[in-house]
């Protein structure tokens, strides 16, 4: 009888024990950070990649399949950024909830207008994305738009905590708007700053801050530059000078360092996403650091 009572108690209490936080699988650190901001203690976030990994080139590792298997929500950039590995995870995980088209599959790039849609789709153009440039997280206005949609999606999947998601979203909006006003004020001197980039990873930031991209180190997207190509860019920078050459934290430092040395301009490794530098611990730190790094060289 005692055993039966214990069993009955456990059966009744099971839903309490079983009620775990919503499992969120974030493809990139920025979306992991955003899900943490909006989900708080109601979500358990697993971030599949780090700021030191190239989001185009990730192995479909067993550990990622295991995490995708238990995910209630997959938050990814989309726009073909993860085309080399995400489809494998989705297929092998055997998880119906996070298949494309389900509420459990969220693409951030669908919430914003993409730049640099290629007019011609030809592999001779390098690693181009048909939907447009997917590196949308370098503009905080995009983060704000994605936050709206992600907050709504969290509430849709986990209606029991809908109110909490809405409260956190409102709170995030307030803090984010204040931060954006601050960054825009700080970044005023950056307007028109001529820059060279290693990879076409910053069009949204350039658009936001009014930076002027005068050179790209990669001859084609995703193709590493040769010394000969870099030498041409050094020559080109003599007529249209850049004040700084920037790259993302995950990128091979050698091309930008070489160019910085030969063109005599400073090199900045931008955090690019959350975790890309010591200061970029969260989304706020990401933009604090990005703006500060650029201001340092603009003075």
């Amino acid at each position: 009888m005692k055993a039966f009572r214990l069993f009955a108690f456990l059966a009744a209490a099971w839903p309490v024990f079983a009620h775990a936080a919503l499992n969120v699988f974030a493809c990139e650190p920025e979306w992991g950070a955003l899900a943490t901001e909006l989900g708080g203690s109601d979500v358990k976030v697993y971030t599949a990649t780090t700021a030191f990994q190239d989001p185009h080139r990730i192995e479909a590792r067993p550990s990622l399949i295991a995490q995708m298997r238990r995910a209630d929500l997959a938050v990814c950039t989309g726009a073909e950024l993860e085309i080399g590995w995400l489809p494998v995870l989705l297929r092998q995980a055997g998880n119906a909830a996070i298949q494309p088209g389900q509420p459990g599959y969220f693409e951030a790039a669908r919430q914003v207008a993409l730049l640099e849609k290629p007019a011609v789709l030809d592999r001779a153009q390098g690693d181009i994305h048909a939907a447009g440039n997917p590196h949308i997280q370098t503009d905080p206005r995009n983060i704000a738009r994605v936050a709206q949609a992600l907050g709504a999606r969290l509430a849709e999947i986990d209606p029991a905590h809908a109110a909490a998601y809405q409260t956190r979203l409102a709170d995030f909006n307030t803090r984010w708007n204040a931060a954006m006003t601050r960054w825009q004020a700080q970044a005023a001197p950056l307007k028109g700053l001529p820059i060279a980039v290693q990879h076409e990873g910053f069009p949204y930031m350039e658009n936001w801050l009014g930076l002027k991209q005068v050179a790209v180190l990669e001859p084609k997207p995703g193709v590493a530059p040769s010394i000969g190509h870099l030498a041409e860019i050094v020559a080109q920078l003599k007529t249209t000078p850049a004040r700084v050459v920037i790259r993302a934290a995950y990128q091979d430092p050698r091309p930008s360092e070489w160019l910085g040395q030969h063109a005599g301009i400073p090199v900045v490794a931008m955090p690019f996403t959350v975790g890309g530098s010591d200061r970029a611990k969260d989304l706020f730190g990401l933009f604090d650091d990005s703006v500060a790094q650029l201001l340092k060289v603009a003075r």
Binding site: T49, T50, F52, Q53, D54, R57, E59, A60, R61, P62, S63, I65, A66, Q67, R69, R70, A79, I83, G84, W85, L86, P87, V88, R91, Q92, A93, G94, N95, A96, A97, Q99, A109, R110, Q111, V112, A113, L114, R123, G126, D127, A130, A131, G132, R141, A144, R145, A147, Q148, A149, N173, W176, N177, M180, T181, Q184, V223, A224, Y250, Q251, D252
Partner: protein, 449 residues
């Protein structure tokens, strides 16, 4: 904006001679009306402009205002629903000795030995079509095209929406046993197959049947799989029967160690039957005999893969180690004809054999990789029964050393140079050279771990 009004006024002023007073008054009234019309329009426009400027300023200050529905619209071209198509072009130049036959001493392999064309040749081109069929299924088709022949390598459907970690695959597919088995030749790290797979399956084990996979809800990747099928392919044969011709069971576990290391290991079992399975053997006199095996074939495979990339970023440097080993037990009878066996000599056949390979591939700079593979087989114990008097049972251990360098201008193209010291056949050591190209056209899907 006032131009039409001015024009009208100028016209009116320019032709007073032809206009009487009444006309003139009417004209003036009209001009006046036009003027007022335009003024109101301008005012409206100015108001709208001011409004737009105000709201733009407001947006700049509060850019996170309610989200606009700027969701990137799905492409509306009619081709959008077509399957993803990709084509693999492969070819090679092989520098090989002119040998009448290439065999694996002590083993009864598949009749066709791959990759034995000397000089320039085009390998089979692979045509792949795949697509989600509906929200519930995905389809995949892979055909190999060569002179006068088309082979259906894979043609299957797979469930998408079963959930609970379950996936069912049905049709013709590469079995999930081992590690390399699911990979097509273009995804191999070497120009030639490893000796273990050559001895076990020819190229890789495919089957017509059903596969059930289950991924456990654990942090440690744990996958269990079961397959049943026709079992028509080597080491089984087509036995023209109803029911289940073979089955396979396997399990894989895997995970990460830090950011830089990841691994996967597994154990697989394949059970099938053969009836009259033909292999070519040499008898004590060195003459070719035809051997037909009938019986059970049971194979255990163990596999392990370990990958390293600094901080998990493989762009500049990365390293991959893979090793597999097998134990195969075949039990039944062997019917031997020709040579010393004469018109026919039926004896029992019992063999327990082992083997494996280990390989390491290192990307030492972007685009450039080098790799080494060692193959070793152990003929183990063999008993030909009555045919022990006709067929030799050497303890020779077939082996191979392969060294390769490859260069990939992009992820869609690859060139490879390989040297192989082939000792697969006793007394027939061979230095082999291969130059290979692999091109991938179209939307080539992602590769598994």
């Amino acid at each position: 904006m006032l131009r039409p009004a001015l024009l009208a006024a100028a016209l009116a002023a320019a032709c007073p001679a032809h206009a009487d007073d009444a006309d003139l008054a009417a004209l003036r009234a009209e001009v006046q009306k036009m003027k007022t019309d335009y003024e109101t329009r301008i005012q409206t426009l100015e108001a709208r402009l001011a409004h737009a400027e105000a709201s733009a300023a407001a947006t700049a200050a509060q850019p996170a205002a309610p989200v606009q529905d700027v969701a990137s619209a799905a492409p509306s071209n009619p081709g959008a629903f077509n399957p993803e198509i990709s084509l693999i072009l492969q070819g090679s130049y092989a520098h090989l000795r002119d040998l009448p036959a290439r065999r694996i001493s002590g083993f009864l392999p598949d009749g066709t030995a791959p990759g034995t064309t000397r000089g320039f040749s085009v390998d089979e081109s692979e045509l792949v079509l795949s697509s989600n069929i509906d929200p519930y299924f995905r389809g995949y088709f892979n055909a190999t095209l060569n002179d006068g022949s088309v082979g259906v390598e894979e043609a299957w459907f797979q469930t998408l929406a079963l959930g609970q970690g379950l996936t069912v695959k049905g049709g013709r597919f590469r079995s999930g046993i081992g590690y390399q088995n699911e990979q097509h030749p273009h995804a191999w790290d070497f120009a030639t197959n490893n000796l273990m797979y050559e001895a076990l399956f020819g190229e890789g084990y495919g089957n017509d049947g059903l596969q059930l996979r289950w991924v456990a809800p654990t942090d440690l990747f744990t996958e269990l799989g079961a397959e049943i099928g026709r079992g028509a392919n080597f080491p089984g044969t087509d036995r023209n029967g109803n029911g289940v011709g073979n089955y396979a069971l396997y399990g894989h576990v895997g995970g990460d160690v830090g950011d830089s290391h990841s691994w996967r290991g597994g154990l697989s079992y394949l059970s099938t039957r053969a009836a009259d399975r033909h292999s070519a053997l040499a008898d004590f006199a060195g003459a070719d005999v035809n051997a037909a095996f009938t019986g059970d074939s049971k194979t255990w495979l163990a596999d392990f893969v370990w990958k390293w990339a600094p901080l998990g970023n493989p762009t500049v440097h990365n390293f991959k180690f893979a090793a597999e080993a097998f134990r195969r037990e075949e039990n039944g009878s062997l019917d031997c004809t020709d040579g010393l066996c004469g018109a026919g000599s039926l004896g029992s056949y019992r063999a327990t054999q082992y083997g494996g390979y280990a390989q390491a591939v290192y990307q030492f700079m972007p685009r450039w990789r080098t790799g080494y593979r060692y193959d070793l087989l152990d003929p183990g114990s063999r008993d030909f029964g009555l045919n022990n008097v006709n067929l030799p049972r050497s303890d020779y251990r077939p082996s191979r050393h392969s060294l390769m360098v490859d260069y990939s201008p992009s992820e869609f193209s690859r060139f490879r140079l390989q040297y192989t010291k082939d000792k697969a056949n006793e007394g027939q050591d061979e230095n082999q050279w291969y130059v290979q190209y692999i091109f991938s056209l179209g939307t080539h899907g992602a590769h598994s771990f």
